[in-house]
């Protein structure tokens, strides 16, 4: 595909000898990184390191952070495939943060697969060609007469040399042009497409230290951080003496921060020889806060303000095509509905934490579970006035991310505390209460929708007045809606307008940002349209897509050209989901099916949910059918299916019961009893099939989540005749 070739032509390979013999190959791929979510527009490179040692081990450096998305296993698989290695000889090591050496180190946006698919394979293929050349020279034969298999070079007579035996010679071979090396024919893949367990799993089941919070350093102390329950509040005064007097407490320090929640906020750090002691001593603190104007903010207040804004002219226009006013004026039927969704927390299982050591010479060293180390380093530099080259970050495995660890406030906090105790490593840990109440939430949002149908029930007009949140007058990425949100470009007359309300509630990206909310709004309202037309949503969607060709591409991540939205691919998964779920067939008594489709992160997903209500009116999801198109290969089926199943359960959990209510300018839920993450007994049967199409593979971390929420809501409508227009679903409104 053009976008990957364009990238791959710029791949630069460098070979060198490993200390102690062997081959070290580095691939450097300059690119322009435009990570919409977090990284900003920065120049970056994307580098790969592979080394082959004389003992025949192949070490591949995992550059990107691992949050459970499987990248630490999947990217090395691409290199190992083209290298024709035996997977058992591959070791994967986690890179430290080092943008000069490794380039762009980031986990988010499901970017890694499309960005790495070609360059990683080319790197492996180039290394393989160098090993072949080394063997050819050793044996005095033509390289073309040789073949490779499972980490060996073989000739026709049966002679063989291991890669380890050839590695030192291969380091002296001229490096091939990566764009010209022959890649394997897909039919010869032995590693791509194979279910391969995670490279860290064996250590994890033994309880070995591997996560950020497992970091242990000599002389390390533990810190807890007390901050205001109201966002944007400032510390007026604090009495820390009683806390300092608690046995085991070493210090309690008033920390003065600023207005930006992504950096240091005001608070008190309690440092002790045990985290439990530090956290418990917070009860002895006496802190006065000034909540300012933000202490009156609440979810109920935002709901009320949204309704007021709907009654006023919109503040801005996001998208317009055709003549919407004329369409509504001529409509035979007009549908109107108001949709809303709440703030959501990430609640990664490993609470936010970071270990920091301020060296006596002012260097700061961190052991950080972060999806975005670059932003963490920048934040620390900004907060503490330390030069970026004085900040070293060791990237640890993370107990979940879901987007929370794209924002690195906890790293800044740890560094700021450590800066007060030079020479002493400080491990800052947040309690679960801290984690839920100090998040960067999925923003709440409000939509007033209208649809116009003509006398033939054709959808001729579509309008959304979106009310969203702003910070200092700017709508953050996660609270915004793109101009091309479906059904824009597929209905003749469309207008998206927007009004905003100012907030200080911190917001950020949650898995499938924007899409996790917009899918519910748009696919539910389109289900209303379909119902008004006397048919079902898949029929409406298939009609809207019609025979349309793929839309033009758009500039994407890393200088890539993203392929444009493809109606044929969308239709492919819709038809597959209908067939898998026996959509047009019967459903057992007391149950109903609902449908949802969504395209996000370059992935096409259509999902069908079968639901019933239990004796106490509780929602019971029995089966979910998932049809996904993420391109030509499912690189690691283990990882891909895990991501689908996790996304489905995550989405159902959000729809059924999750909300962070804002009260007095702060978050109300305090722990898992007030923020009820799905548990095993509510797990439905999940049936997943991938529609394989001739497109470069794309990411799996996010796109399976969005459609399940409207699919569930639409199933509940079919079951009860009651529309779900507000999340989480209020089951008392369904009877």
């Amino acid at each position: 595909m053009p976008e990957t070739v364009a990238l791959s032509r710029r791949t630069l390979l460098k070979a060198g000898a490993l200390a102690g013999g062997g081959l070290m190959l580095s691939a450097s791929m300059p690119m322009i990184a435009k990570a919409a979510t977090a990284a900003g527009g920065t120049e970056a490179t994307l580098n790969a390191y592979v080394s082959i040692a004389p003992d025949n081990t192949i070490t591949i450096v995992a550059r990107n952070p691992e949050i459970g998305q499987g990248i630490k296993t999947m990217l090395p698989m691409l290199i190992a495939e083209e290298l024709d290695a035996d997977w058992d000889q591959v070791r994967v090591t986690q890179a430290d943060f080092n943008p000069q050496k490794y380039g762009f180190q980031f986990a988010g946006g499901s970017f890694s697969t499309p960005m790495n698919w070609m360059p990683m394979r080319q790197t492996g293929a180039a290394a393989r060609r160098m090993l072949l050349a080394a063997a050819a020279e050793r044996w005095g034969v033509a390289a073309s007469s040789l073949r490779t298999e499972q980490g060996k070079v073989l000739d026709a007579s049966g002679r063989s040399l291991t890669y380890g035996e050839l590695a030192s010679d291969a380091a002296k071979v001229a490096v091939p042009d990566p764009a010209k090396v022959q890649l394997k024919d897909a039919k010869d893949f032995k590693i791509i497409g194979r279910s391969i367990p995670g490279v860290d799993s064996a250590r994890i089941v033994r309880g070995e230290p591997i996560f950020g919070v497992d970091t242990r350093l000599p002389g390390m102390k533990y810190a807890a951080f007390e901050r205001a329950p109201t966002f944007g509040a400032r510390l007026v005064s604090a009495d820390v003496e009683a806390a300092k007097a608690v046995p085991g407490v070493e210090d309690a320090i008033v920390m003065k921060g600023g207005d930006n929640p992504e950096l240091l906020v005001d608070g008190v750090a309690v440092i002790a020889n045990n985290w439990w002691t530090a956290n418990k001593a917070r009860e002895k603190l006496s802190v006065q806060w000034d909540n300012g104007e933000w202490g009156s903010h609440s979810s109920a207040g935002y709901d009320k303000r949204a309704a007021e804004l709907w009654a006023e002219p919109p503040q801005s226009e996001l998208h317009k095509e055709g003549d919407v006013d004329a369409a509504f004026a001529s409509a035979a039927k007009v549908l109107e509905a108001e949709y809303a969704y709440p703030f959501l927390a990430h609640v990664a299982m490993e609470p936010m934490n970071c270990t920091a050591l301020c060296h006596e010479d002012g260097r700061i060293e961190l052991w950080a579970p972060t999806q975005n180390p670059q932003a963490g380093a920048q934040g620390i530099a900004q907060q503490l006035g330390v030069a970026p080259d004085k900040i070293a970050i060791h990237i640890t495995r993370m107990g979940g991310g879901f987007g929370r660890r794209l924002t690195n406030d906890y790293m800044v906090q740890a560094a700021a505390i450590a800066a007060k105790k030079p020479g002493t490593p400080i491990q800052l840990i947040w309690s679960r209460q801290d984690d839920i109440r100090s998040d960067f939430y999925r923003p709440a949002g409000w939509h007033r929708l209208r649809a116009a149908l003509d006398a033939n029930n054709k959808l001729i007009g579509f309008e959304d007045h979106f009310v969203t949140l702003s910070k200092n007058g700017q709508v953050p990425f996660e609270a915004s809606m793109g101009a091309t949100e479906f059904p824009a470009r597929f209905v003749e007359n469309v207008r998206y307008v927007q009004s905003t309300m100012e907030t200080r509630i911190p917001t950020g990206a949650l898995r499938a940002p924007q899409s996790n909310a917009l899918s519910f709004v748009m696919q539910s309202f389109l289900d209303e349209v379909a119902h008004a037309q006397g048919r079902d949503l898949p029929a409406l969607m298939l009609e809207l897509f019609g025979d349309r060709e793929p839309l033009p591409g758009t500039p994407g991540m890393g200088g890539m050209q993203n392929p444009g939205f493809s109606p044929p691919r969308a239709k492919g998964v819709i038809e597959k989901a209908m067939q898998m779920s026996n959509w047009s067939g019967g459903t057992p008594d007391g149950r109903a099916k609902g449908f949802g489709f969504y395209y996000s992160h370059l992935g096409y997903f259509a999902e069908v949910v079968e639901v019933s209500l239990g004796s106490r009116g509780e929602i019971q999801v029995h089966d979910v059918w998932v049809a996904g198109d993420v391109g030509s290969h499912i690189i690691n089926p283990f990882g891909a299916l895990n991501q689908v199943e996790g996304s489905i359960i995550d989405g159902i959990g959000q729809a059924v019961g999750l909300a962070v209510e804002i009260e007095n300018g702060g978050a109300k839920p305090t722990n898992f009893h007030e923020y009820e993450i799905p548990r095993m007994p509510m797990t439905p049967r999940i049936h997943t099939e991938f529609v394989i199409t001739d497109n470069p593979p794309t990411g799996m971390g996010e796109p399976a989540l969005p459609p399940v929420i409207p699919a569930l809501a639409n199933a509940l409508f079919k079951l009860t005749g009651k529309r779900v227009r507000k999340l989480p679903i209020d089951t008392s409104q369904l009877v």
Partner: protein, 156 residues
């Protein structure tokens, strides 16, 4: 005061306040970090250990109340055939995503199979309901337990 607690077959001295939860004695005093902190109030199961073979939330178990009961943590799980079989199934079936909750899941699953070697699907659901997996690997956790229950521990 100092407490003497038998952990993984070894008597360990803990000079901690009596109300310090075992979790923090393990993680911060003994450097045994396999047992995980998730919620601190017994809601998520990440901190599950065995106390005399019973799955117990170490975040809510004061060190002063353990007495002469025997504590087993994830670090010693592989010493029991059931624990070893489950660890292997967890890897073979690629149960985990982030992996953070899995020590607690494994400890709870091992306790389940120790008291009920052939649980029904519903019994697995009920027994594991106290353990949150935020990545939602529930299908695989369930199936790995069922697989070990069916095959037994002969190959462990």
């Amino acid at each position: 005061m100092a407490y003497r607690v038998e952990i993984n077959g070894e008597v360990r001295e803990l000079d901690v306040p009596e109300d310090m939860p075992l979790l923090w004695a393990l993680r911060n005093e003994l450097g045994m970090v396999g047992t995980k902190f998730g919620c601190g109030v017994g809601l998520c199961g990440a901190c599950t250990v065995h106390v005399d073979g019973v799955a117990t939330r170490s975040c809510s178990l004061p060190v002063g109340t353990i007495g002469d009961k025997k504590v087993t943590t994830i670090e010693a799980l592989g010493e029991s055939p059931v624990g070893r079989a489950l660890q292997q199934a967890w890897v073979d079936e690629d149960v985990m995503q982030c992996g953070y909750c899995q020590a607690g899941q494994l400890m709870n699953a091992t306790a389940l199979l120790a008291r009920n070697p052939k649980p029904s699907s519903q019994q697995i659901d009920q027994a594991m309901a106290g353990n949150i997996c935020r990545c939602a690997c529930y299908t695989r956790i369930h199936d790995a337990i069922a697989m070990v229950a069916e095959k037994g521990t002969a190959n462990a």
